[in-house]
């Protein structure tokens, strides 16, 4: 037992990696699904154990192959990554049962085992980014997750998925390459790739080489922002999310962008922020400006979408704006709000996209015009969808409200009353695009397209209902969301220069 305990940081990467290998060899859909399910259900225990360990006794440092850092690769888990690992693994575990029917419906038989293989690779990459303490290692995991994501998207139900995957491949590779350029510049300045070590060496290097370091900061920020779809680097996202297989969209929307946000926070708060005074640079101002633009422009675009999944994709861009806004505030309430919204948005969006998957499973369409009266045909699905929508608007009693509350407090702490109104104002636009769907779904007479629809089987319904219930639950009990987010934020801000 002890042997396992000590190696948790690497196991959380190895288990899905070997799972992917097995799933690839499985050749048939059901065994591959079984492997994916087992892996998805084991990982949360690893993440949970690490989270518990971190909260009880501080950061874990794991030396890969026993090579001491900074020469060897270090896996370093503190409250921030343990939090992200927990989120990613839980989303995987909760949504996985949904995949069997949905994937069986949308993907050709021969490709199904590869779908699970790619999912497990993607999971490997995402968990790897979160667990590693080595900047270049993070790049490798970033590419593992990205390449498998391109394949997941390309497996989508019509040919536009191929185009979406290709476009994402181009954009994603540019983003990852920008990141690696930034890391290269940092390596030139510090001679190290270990994140903690870079942070320690960057300060002394600042005096002579501030221009190179600013360039590194710019490259890393832009590169990671492409992956996290910060406005206006989001153009890959709407196509990718609308044409990918439904389950893949739900999983990716809840995890992939969130892990990229983690990487941004890590670089800004644990590396650059520790070494140099970021407040002297306009980083925060740029992030806040772009976040506000995302909240408004992307929400407005969402209002005019005719496809449900596309509307939710643009809503994701807007919601990511909330998260980066909180990061840009650089104060306790704001950062707490940003971090807590990572979790809250992941849960809501996973629920919403799963509902879209369930609707497609029964009605074979996600065009809003065809979905009139779907609420009466699929009441449980659409009730869960509605609850998650309330979370998106941020009505009190949902987790979305908690995020908004912290963000607003963060803005007030900065003395920006106008931003407070901008935050609450953007939820009005969410009210419009969400209200439009709910009106069609509940109040219109059922259309011919949905005449035969009914609620999906339990394996699909349970994850959906669970996630929707979480939206309500975390609106009241915030110990595991805002509680940990606030501890984490305090730690990150305490390290700032």
């Amino acid at each position: 037992m002890n042997a396992v305990w000590a190696h948790l940081p690497i196991l959380i990467v190895l288990v899905p990696l070997f799972g992917a290998l097995l799933a690839g060899f499985a050749r048939r859909a059901d065994p591959a699904f079984a492997i994916a399910l087992v892996v998805s259900w084991v990982i949360p225990f690893c993440a949970g154990a690490m989270l518990w360990q971190v909260l009880a006794s501080g950061p874990i440092s794991y030396h890969l192959g026993s090579w001491a850092p900074p020469w060897g690769i270090e896996y370093r888990v503190d409250a921030l990554n343990a939090f992200v690992l927990m989120l990613v693994s839980m989303i995987g575990a909760v949504t996985m049962p949904f995949a069997r029917r949905s994937v069986g419906f949308e993907i050709e038989e021969g490709q199904r085992p590869w779908f699970y293989c790619m999912y497990l690779l993607c999971l490997t990459g995402l968990l790897g980014i979160a667990v590693t303490g080595d900047a270049f290692n993070a790049f490798v995991f970033l590419e593992i997750s990205s390449l498998s994501t391109y394949v997941l998207i390309a497996l989508g139900r019509d040919r536009r998925a191929l185009l979406a995957a290709f476009q994402y491949l181009i954009m994603g590779t540019i983003g990852a390459t920008f990141y690696v350029v930034g890391v290269g510049l940092l390596y030139l300045m510090t001679g190290s790739l270990n994140m903690v070590d870079i942070a320690a060496r960057l300060g002394p290097a600042w005096a002579d080489n501030s221009r190179t370091i600013i360039a590194a900061l710019a490259f890393v920020t832009v590169g990671v922002s492409l992956k996290l779809a910060l406005f206006p680097l989001h153009v890959w996202l709407p196509n990718a999310y609308s044409y990918a297989p439904s389950w893949a969209t739900a999983f990716l929307s809840a995890t992939a962008t969130k892990v990229a946000i983690y990487l941004l926070v890590r670089f800004l708060f644990s590396i650059f922020g520790v070494a140099i005074d970021l407040r002297a640079l306009p980083v925060a101002a740029i992030i806040i400006g772009l976040s506000l633009a995302a909240m408004y422009i992307a929400s407005l675009i969402a209002v005019f979408q005719s496809s449900l999944s596309r509307m939710l994709a643009y809503s994701s861009v807007a919601q990511i704006g909330y998260i980066t806004l909180g990061i840009g505030f650089v104060n306790l309430a704001g950062l707490t709000g940003g971090l807590v919204h990572i979790v809250n948005h992941a849960l809501m969006k996973a629920a919403l996209f799963l509902a879209v998957g369930a609707v497609f499973f029964r009605a074979r369409t996600v065009q809003l015009d065809d979905l009139a009266g779907i609420g009466r045909k699929m009441p449980i699905t659409m009730t869960a969808f509605t609850v998650a929508c309330f979370g998106l608007i941020g009505t009190p009693g949902t987790s979305g409200f908690i995020s908004k509350w912290y963000l607003a407090l963060g803005a007030i702490e900065r003395g920006w009353w106008l931003v407070v109104f901008l935050i609450v104002g953007s939820s009005l636009i969410a009210l419009i695009y969400v209200g439009r769907v709910l009106e069609i779904a509940w109040l219109r007479e059922p259309s011919a397209a949905v005449a035969e629809a009914r609620d999906p089987p339990l394996s699909m319904l349970a994850p959906l209902v669970l996630l929707a219930a979480a939206t309500i639950y975390f609106g009241f009990d915030t110990e595991w969301t805002a509680g940990i987010a606030s501890t984490t934020a305090k730690g990150l801000l305490g390290g700032l220069r």
């Binding site: 009505t395 009210l431 009106e439 109040l443």
Partner: protein, 491 residues
């Protein structure tokens, strides 16, 4: 009255009962009689439970329950205080009467989706009770939004194009104002005061400065869109597409009263009357309320649709309560609280009558009502009493509220408020008395409508008779509302 329940458990039960009823109702989807019985039993028990709280309250008890503190500052907690008690009492007792009426109306008009109707209704009442007994601003806000969302399916009940459009207006105005203005106001209150708990005398420090107080007050008054202060009143006439029982209880009592109740509560228990008067920032509120009263009355004069005329009358009457706050005299606050109860009974009677006419004779326009009083004497008799209550003629309860508000206005030499009350009383008479005149003294014109219809189904007649009687009774026996109202202003 001997207390069967401890005050705390009565409070908990009062909060739970409507929701329990709402969750039981769908089980009887296919058995209407049983379903309606559940509604009536729930409403009766709620009324009984709320009454249990009255005695202890008058003896100084202030039962409270803390449920959970979500994050620092955001706690779900309940506490009974006199104003909430008054609102809770009005809402729960009228729910019972309204349920009897609903049965007659929904069956009489053969409405679809009745189970959804009763479920949403119960949830809406539960939310109103939650608002009434909220201990802090967050809890109030939570149930305020729940009330909006639970009444939305009722407004869009007909599901035709008009209802859907009205639903849109309803949501955008109510959710919109609350998210855009009320929420920042609450956040600001938390930042300035460090607490969101209601407290006699207010929680906001007077040191904030007049400008901040004024801005905050504006956010609250306009953020609480349910109070229908102009120019945020458009949702109320739009909501009239709902079935009449909804207009009667929700859009004349529960929802709109939740609005003015919240304003009253915020003014007295968040700002504090003294803070408001010492910073002298309520003048503009007098003007806004006055303009709303007069303008809404003028618009009401020109409405031919009976329910719309009543809706504009509601807008105008709600601002009496806001005016009572704006006058800032303790006696006018008492009057405002009295008016919550008085207007509730009178206005629900008027809506009941409107629904009764629609059910029995399928008439909706004022111009069609010639001679209707002779065929529907009970309905139009109750209507007349309700109308007198609106105008404020004794012996109806409406007189009391107006009298105290007027007294307060005189006391503080607020001549603008005095003038508004006089003018609006004339206007009230101007748009209600012609209806009464037409109904009783004009001969019906033969325009193809069924002229042989008699009274509406008996549950409707019973309900409107009870509320009309209540309007008069409250004039002679104002003890309960008056004692509660006096406790609010602390004098």
């Amino acid at each position: 009255m001997t207390a069967v329940l401890s005050p705390e458990s009565a409070l908990a039960l009062a909060l739970l009962t409507p929701f329990v009823g709402a969750s039981v109702l769908p089980l009887f989807h296919d058995r209407p009689n049983l379903r309606e019985a559940v509604t009536l039993v729930t409403a009766a028990s709620l009324c009984f439970i709320v009454l249990q709280l009255l005695g202890p309250l008058q003896h100084g008890a202030r039962p409270e329950i803390d449920i959970i503190e979500i994050v620092p500052g955001l706690a779900v907690a309940f506490k009974v205080e006199p104003l909430g008690m008054l609102f809770g009492l009005v809402a729960s007792s009228l729910w019972f009467v309204n349920s009897i009426y609903s049965i007659g109306y929904m069956r009489g008009n053969d409405e679809p989706r009745q189970t959804t109707f009763y479920v949403c209704f119960a949830v809406a009442i539960g939310s109103a009770i939650g608002i009434a007994f909220a201990k802090n601003l967050f809890t109030l806000f939570l149930f305020y939004e729940a009330l909006t969302l639970s009444t939305y399916p009722l407004v869009t009940h007909k599901r035709n194009e008009e209802a859907i459009r009205a639903g849109r207006t309803y949501l955008i105005f109510l959710l919109g104002t609350s998210l855009l203005l009320l929420l920042p106001a609450i956040i600001a209150t938390w930042v300035f005061a460090g607490t969101l708990d209601f407290k006699p005398g207010g929680i906001l420090p007077a040191s904030l400065g007049a400008a901040t107080i004024a801005a905050l007050l504006a956010l609250y008054v306009f953020g609480i869109g349910k109070a229908a202060v102009m120019p945020l009143h458009f949702w109320l006439p739009a909501a009239m597409v709902a079935p009449t029982p909804v207009s009667a209880l929700l859009h004349a009592v529960a929802v709109v009263k939740a609005g003015v109740f919240s304003i009253l509560k915020v003014a007295v228990l968040v700002f504090g009357i003294d803070t408001l008067s010492s910073t002298g920032q309520a003048t503009w509120l007098t003007v806004v309320a006055g303009v709303t009263i007069i303008l809404a009355s003028v618009i009401a004069l020109r409405q031919d649709n009976l329910k719309r005329r009543l809706a504009y009358s509601t807008i105008s009457q709600l601002s009496y309560i806001v005016l009572g706050v704006a006058v800032l005299a303790p006696i006018s606050v008492t009057g405002a609280a009295m008016h919550i109860a008085a207007h509730a009974f009178s206005k629900i009677t008027l809506f009941f009558a409107a629904g009764s006419i629609y059910t029995a004779a399928h008439l909706t326009q004022v111009s069609q009502l010639d001679g209707i009083g002779r065929r529907m004497p009970w309905t139009m008799g109750a209507f007349t009493i309700g109308a007198l209550g609106m105008i404020g003629v004794p012996p109806t309860a409406g007189f009391l509220g107006k009298w105290f508000i007027l007294g307060g206005a005189m006391q503080t030499a607020n001549w603008l408020a005095v003038a508004v009350i006089f003018v609006s009383t004339l206007l009230n008479a101007g748009y209600f008395l012609p209806i009464v005149y037409r109904a009783f003294f004009c001969d019906s014109v033969d325009d193809g409508h069924d002229k042989h219809s008699g009274e509406a189904p008996w549950p409707i007649v019973v309900a409107l008779t009870v509320t009309a009687a209540g309007t008069v009774l409250m004039f002679f026996l104002p003890d309960v509302p008056f004692s509660l109202a006096k406790l609010i202003s602390g004098r």
